[in-house]
Structure formats: C-alpha cells, structure tokens
Amino acid sequence: MKIVVCIKQVPETNDVTIDPVTHNLDRRGLAGVMNPFDKNAIELALTLKDSRDDVQVALLTMGPDDYAESLREGMAMGADEGYLLSDRAFAGADTLATGYVIAQALKKIDHADLILFGRQAVDADTGQVGPIVAEFLHQPQITYAASLRLSGANEVTAERLLEDTKQTLVAQLPAVVSVRSELNTPRYPTPRNIQLSFAKSLTVWHHDDLDLDDSRLGQAGSPTIVTKVYAPEPVKRELTPLTGTPSEAASQLIKALKERQLI
C-alpha cells in the first residue's frame, strides 16, 4: 500500500509584520520550513511503514520550486519519494483551488490508499484542505486523529478527539486522515537517511502533467479574496475589580465566569 502525506512549506516564524507603506505582508528574509504539524503526519506514515513490509511513503506538496526543500527534509526523515506540484497557474489559490489540484494529482498516483495531512498549517491555520481533498476524491475522512493503526489489509482504526468526546472510527481504504500533533513526536533525519534521501525520486508535476480544468486553478478558481491585511491592535482590556472579602470577591468572579460561559 502507498501512504501519501500532503505537506506545506511555511515561513520559519509567525512573527510577520505589515509593510507600513504597501500594507502587504512583509515576508522579506523569512526562510521556509516544513509546517511543523505535517511532521506528525510523516511520523505516523513512517511508523506504519515500520510495522509492515508493503508500505511505501510518498510526500506531496504544491508550491514554488523551493518547496522541494521540505520534500527533501521529509525524505531524510525516511519517506520514499516526493511529488512537487509547481506551476504559475497554481499561484494565488485559496483552499478550494489548492484542494482541487492536490486531488487531481492524487488521482494520478497509483494505489494512494491512505492520504495524510497535518492538523493545519501554522501560517493560514485553516485545516480545510484535507476535508476538501477527501470530498473531491469521494473518500471517507477522519480529521484530528489522535491515534491510528492498520486494523486490516484494507482498513484503519483511529481515535478522534472532539472537544469533550473520544470517537473510535473504522475506515475502509482509501481514506483521508488529518492528525493531531499530540499523536507522536516526529523523528529527526539520521545522517544515513539524509545521505539516502539524495538518491530518492523527486517528481515535479507542472500544469500540463495533470488533468485540470483551468477555471478551477489559482486566483481565478478561488472563491475567496483577501481584501485587507492588518496587524491587530493589542487587546485593550478593561479591568473589573473584584472587591470586598475574599468570599465576596470569589462570588463576583464565579458570576462573571458563568456569564462568559466559562464554568
């Protein structure tokens, strides 16, 4: 079976600023790194590969050519091969247009039985691309998986943590799963795996390599538009004093927390 882990490259830090003149994000000097949550998905894939002889792990990302860095890093962790979806036509895509290209690429990869995502990217924080891809591929989805094991030749069993409920789910493959970061601790690339990774295959697919409807690509294929980007004003809090004896003050606090639905 083949596990495909979809990853994203993100700025090295979330400490971004707004250019005071252009009001655009100032990304100058920000190096790209693999989205940290995606490493949990790769670790899960590698754990499953360690548990069975017939598992191959592929990585897939969409972005400019330098996203190959993150594919190389994942292959140095132990993944077998990488796919980079890179074309000017894909640029400016929102989650829907991104999900479309990724889904079309996954259709071209033979036996992509299990498709994994990190819980969300640390830059845009949407977590939407996994479910979108699942829908486009007509596959079942398990989001926010807290554990996952292969429970049959063609079946996975996962635990999914909702805010106050733990679900146990069984999915027949192929399926799409996004994982929580508490699931595992990602391994580091070993010197040997780093050396081996240079011999591994990295396939670049451009626009013409995929079966695509151009109206669904990039900015034109994106229903959403960002109209304004700004740095939030620091939250100015107004202090409500709790007064009187400790008991009186505690009662005031309990009342306030109830009003805020915190207790």
Binding site: T168, Q172, K228, R237, P246, A249, L262
Partner: protein
Amino acid sequence: MSKPELWVIAERRLDHIEPTTQQLITKAKGLAGDQFNVVTILLEATTDHLEDELKAYGPDEIRVVRDDRFPTATDAEHADALQQLVEKYQPNSLLFGATITGRSIAPRLQAKLQTGLTADCLDLRFDDDTLVATKPSYGDNIMCEIICPDHRPQMATVRPNTFVATPAAGDATVTTDTVTFHPVDRLQVKAAVPVVNTATTVGDASRVVALGRGAASAATIANATKLAEKLGGRIGVSRPLTDQDRFTHDDQIGQSGNTIHPELIINFGISGAVQYLVGMQDSQTIVAVNSDERAPIFEVADYGYVGDAQAFMTALLAAFN
C-alpha cells in the same frame, strides 16, 4: 418575496447544543437587521428536542431535520444532508462554530458547493449582501478580511466564545424538513465516550490556574490542583516555580516556556514580568490575584483582586463547592 436566509448550523455536543451555536444565533440576529431571516439548521434524532435549547435565543426559524442516524453521522453524511438543504433554500450565508466538528464538516460542504469558506473567524459583518469575515493568520499576529464575492452561499467557521449568547424575545418558528440520508458504509463510528480533559500540557489546556512566587506554598499548590480539576484545566507556573521539584519547564508559561492562549487563566501571586505576560496575554479571559495593586499583571487582566492569593483561592474553592 421572502428575505434571504442567514443560517446558523447547530452543533450537538453529547446530549446538548454546543454553546457556540447560541453565540452565533445572537451574532446573526445582530447582523441580519431587516435584510435576512436568521434560520438555525438542526439535525437531530427523532426523540431529541434540542430545539428547546435554541428557542430562547430568538432565531426567526428553527428548521429541524430528524433521523436517528444523525447523532452518530460522519462528517460526509452531515455535509451531504446540509447540501440538500442548501440546494433547496439557497441561503445567503452559513455560519458554523470553529469547533473540531464544525471545522471538519464545513470544508467538506464547501467542496460539494464549490464556494468560499473562511476559517476560525473573529469577526463578521455584512457589506450589502457580502459577508466580510475577519480571520487571524500567522498565529493571530495578522488579521485578514476575506470576502467571497461571486459564489453563494458564503461560509464561515467562527471561533468559540468570540461572541456572547444573549437570550432574546420573540417566538422562533419551529419547522421540520426532510432530506435523504445517504449512508457512507466505508466509515463507521464504533464508539463515542465523553472525556473530561484531554490536555497533556499547559499549552493544550483551555483553562489554566497559574501560580507564581506569591502562591508557592504546599497548601496553595494543593488547593490549586483541586481548582484546576474543578475547571477541567491544568496548572501552569511562572519561572521561579520551575525550581520546585514538582514543576518542570513543560509547566512554565512565558517567553522561555510555553506561549498559551487558553479560554481562561487565573493568575495567583504572579506580578507579571514582561517575559511572563508575552506568554499569556492573548488568553481570552484573564483573572489576576496579587497583593500588590501596582503589579503589571493587572494591566492585562479582565478581573482583578488585590489581596492574599491563598485566601482568595480558598474562598473560590468554597464558592465552587
């Protein structure tokens, strides 16, 4: 012609309505004015009466679809049912709570409808009939306003506790509707059990009891443990307390420890050095208890008590009991 509809998709949490649903109804009513009808969509079992938990918030209509498979339905089954309703009523916009459930169903439905969805919004407004959604990015360091001008419906998930639910006068009409339930055999929910608190680190906790130098006695720590249990949260500490054996760097809040933004943090005996404040000042509700009224912690707090931390904690525990 009837007004276009603004939908709030009700979420179930075990046997109750998830509170974000009620918060969204209040917000939707404020947004709707005379322009929209606020309709709450509720998918429930035939024996449920979850609409009773929604009426008091005064949506114009509660549209209920009943099927005994809904309480354990998977994301794709929910999205399929909602798609049928969207195609029938053509609403202007759909609002979901940005809970794990909402953030799983909404993008699946988005893909079915081929429309725009903005995630984890912190504010919403209408510009004519265009929904302007404010969403944080880069770990809440940047805010984006996002619109979906040419596709309908418009969709957003909204971060829980962003808005306050307010009961409202008015009789919500409860109507029932039907959809065809299309089971997805390839995914089964085998079990669902309630869990009280899944936080393994202070960074995951939604409620934090924070202790500093002014709340470091064994008795205070014991009480703080009880308080954290009552709240379903965790203890966190400022740097000086990491010298104690029972706390580690993992428990530390601040620049050199964990940056946290829980729904609630109660700070006991913490003065609020800047290195500490940057690690917690984005928490949603901040309470501070300190004997020094000039302590900087009060400058970032929503509620403050000037006095002995131990005495206040004892009183708070008693008030809980």
